[in-house]
Symmetry: C3
Subunit: 350 residues, 3 copies
């Protein structure tokens, strides 16, 4: 499992982390999340170094986790703080990993690499998730597919015209102007479709559904798996600020080599207090992500029979440009991490 390690991943939605011991596998590692008495979220290794019991089968006593098998206690730094056996000395190897953690904008970001390299300033901005001018609906799911397949799916949005046709088809979409812009570990994929028919998912929210609109889709990827998707329509020629708009959150974190946590949300700037609009969002997430994307990605993973896409020599199309760029950037970042001599050199908008 060659994952990028010195980077921030989303480990959980903030609301998932409570006083319950919550296990989650990330990048193949067993992680234990919980919230301290002062409300702070924390994450340590979930495997007791004594007899390898999962610590989430134990109990939380104050801020300390007691192993449910033989009673070793660990604090949130991963140190063993109590050995109830024999002379009570604590063996120096009795410790679990502690993960740098930042709770921000409703997300819990976790650093899976060298703790000393963790810089919270590198966490991408997802403040739209808590913007009071937007209404956000989200959830998470597990996909039986390598995380890069889920990222590919997001970075080639032409799939909406086929896989999500009933909700999203737009006849001018494939011919739209498409710009791909790289900035450091970030990639923007920008599409504008002036004077077109509104895609079906916007129709219920337009005064005149038949009137042509300017339509845009911008997706911004931050390595390794955080995507923000802005989709909007506005009456032809009007500024985008006047349009109705959805800010999509699509963040993927590898669980294992063949499974992926997918955190998703949609933040809209219209009908903030309308339960029908909430329901519309939930329906779309259910159909689009659970009933269309998930079966397709899992079928692709099975058809591939490997997690190494290149080994299968995929035929590349114009629509693959952003997805291919992302894969290349990831390859360079992982190479730079494992072979520190070989620093990647990113050139803007190359």
């Amino acid at each position: 499992m060659a994952f990028l390690r010195n980077t921030w991943y989303v480990g959980a939605w903030a609301c998932e982390i409570t006083r319950e011991l919550t296990p989650r596998t990330l990048l193949g590692e067993p992680v234990l999340f919980y919230r301290k008495e002062n409300g702070e979220a924390t994450a340590i290794g979930n495997r007791c170094p004594h007899r390898f019991a999962p610590l989430h089968l134990g109990k939380l006593v104050g801020d300390v986790v007691e192993c449910g098998y033989h009673g070793l206690k660990f604090d949130c730094t991963g140190s063993c703080v109590e050995n109830p056996h024999g002379d009570h000395k604590i063996p120096s190897a009795a410790r679990v990993k502690a993960y740098p953690l930042v709770e921000q904008h409703g997300l819990v970001w976790i650093w899976m690499g060298k703790p000393e390299l963790a810089n919270p300033a590198d966490i991408p901005d997802y403040s739209h998730l808590v913007d009071p001018r937007l209404k956000t609906i989200g959830d998470l799911m597990l996909q039986q597919a390598h995380y890069e397949l889920v990222v590919d799916n997001l970075m080639d949005l032409t799939h909406v015209n086929y896989l999500h046709a009933p909700y999203q088809k737009n006849d001018d979409f494939l011919a739209a102007k498409h710009e791909v812009v790289q900035q450091g570990r970030m990639l923007d994929s920008l599409r504008s479709i002036p004077s077109t028919t509104a895609p079906p998912s916007f129709v219920p929210f337009l005064d005149d559904p038949a009137a042509p609109v300017d339509y845009w889709l911008n997706i911004r990827w931050h390595a390794p798996g955080a995507c923000q998707l802005e989709v909007g329509v506005v009456p032809v020629g009007r500024p985008r600020a006047e349009g109705i708009r959805r800010q999509g959150t699509h963040i993927v974190t590898p669980e294992t080599d063949t499974t992926t946590h997918y955190f998703y949300a949609s933040s809209r700037n219209y009908l903030l207090d309308d339960p029908k609009a909430d329901l519309e969002t939930r329906n779309w997430q259910q159909v689009g992500f659970h009933e269309q994307d998930k079966p397709m990605l899992e079928a692709v993973q099975k058809m591939m029979g490997t997690t190494d896409l290149d080994s299968l020599k995929p035929v590349l199309l114009a629509s693959d440009v952003a997805a291919v760029r992302v894969r290349r950037m990831m390859k360079e970042l992982i190479k730079a991490e494992t072979e520190p001599q070989a620093q990647p050199i990113f050139v803007l908008n190359k």
Copy 2:
């Protein structure tokens, strides 16, 4: 998976192939079946060469299959005929396999090897399936066992006296005269039991169930997995043409190295329009094939823990003669295909 490739396999019953996109794995390969607008059955590879989506998740437009993920279109020659992206140029690698296909006597035969070697004249004759003087009842099933185990089961019919005793036991069966005759890629296993008790499955259809009969079982195997079984009884001394007779169709096609498609049918020359006789046939197929053969073969496969029978050094009995000959012939045929220098030399009736 060392399968014979330059040969005809049954891919489906003809009635299974419709305007629905129908996926089936054959010899480990994902195949997509459908019927063209002119009614012709066709089969192409089921894995899109772009992002490896299974094409059966797409849709059939005229005679063309549109991938459900990003919209590439393939015709029944396997060629990509439309790329909706970018400049619409079709990359030369954008193609899937097309399989020679022959629909004949209710079966769809598919050629898994080099297309230029496919000769429909080599397809074995299964015209009894559509003979109006016979009534045919059939179906298909999947067995969790290597296809050679299913062929072994057919080529050593002594198992009917044990596994299928309630339906088929005959006290003179094991001592019956048994001839094994090879002709090219074909093997006949012939048994005659003069003046014996009718086996239970014939009893309901005899005027005098207690009267002795001449009983015969002939099974003809065509490489790699097509078997025809003729079973009949006739009053002692009368010509076989006067007997009541069942023409069995037992065709196996590897799905994967450990799973097998099993196409079966029974064509009888008596009570053609009798629903009770139909029901009797279905009952026998349900009990004999699904409840007796299938659990036994799957248990054998598990017990073996390998698909290489020889590596387990089986004890061979007189009753194995036809099954062993078939395995040897298959080994030679596969060797001849993979090492073209080493052509098998078949001598008639050797």
Copy 3:
């Protein structure tokens, strides 16, 4: 799978072996148990050497097993005694293994190694199981964990204070005097806790539950997987013979490298005819073994991702002393068996 072979394992409870053909995998080998017409339990290999059918799918005729596939017959020495095919000669390789078997004290002990080394005198004494002064309640289960993890669980009883706290917690337990005594292939782990509170599971059976008791737990392991646990309480200062006591039977036999048969029973010396005390025992076995031990051990096995504990460098605690000694003894015994030059030298109580 490096299992000790020249040793007695429990293959079944005696009451499990009847005139039904009963298959069970032991040390990865398919074994067939049945009872002869004279009542004697017997065990032979469960895989027919002809076509590898599981013999338990056949039938028992007298003391002979007839294969359900092609009718070879085997007696309880593993010899083929009938070949119904061809000239009826019996190939010399047509035989299955026969296992030395001893039915004793309600258990069926089986020898998985060289038959000539099997000595019934080496079977550990489990006569308490049939002692009329005790009432015994038991059963068996399958654990998805390597058998050594189940033995570890038994040999480090400090886990009862955590995993089984509601039934077994005792505040003086961890500080109790603990002696570990080795005798040959046997290890005793002895704990005495004078003048303490009775553990919850004894409380319902005490005249004065609040009165302090002398409490003891002794577990005796016989290689490779037979443990006897004596647990008792007695009014402070009184001889143990006056106490109430439970003789626990905890015997593990590997099924495969990652699964384990676990035979358990509890024999109490009080309320012999009291159905409520029976129910109490069953409840404890259900909760303690099925709902607490089993999920924990299976989770540990998953967390380990290997059956080689040492490779994970476990942190060892004082409480591990007996479990570690057992693992070391097993390693030496297996080494002595596979490298006969290297005899283990056991020193008493070292």
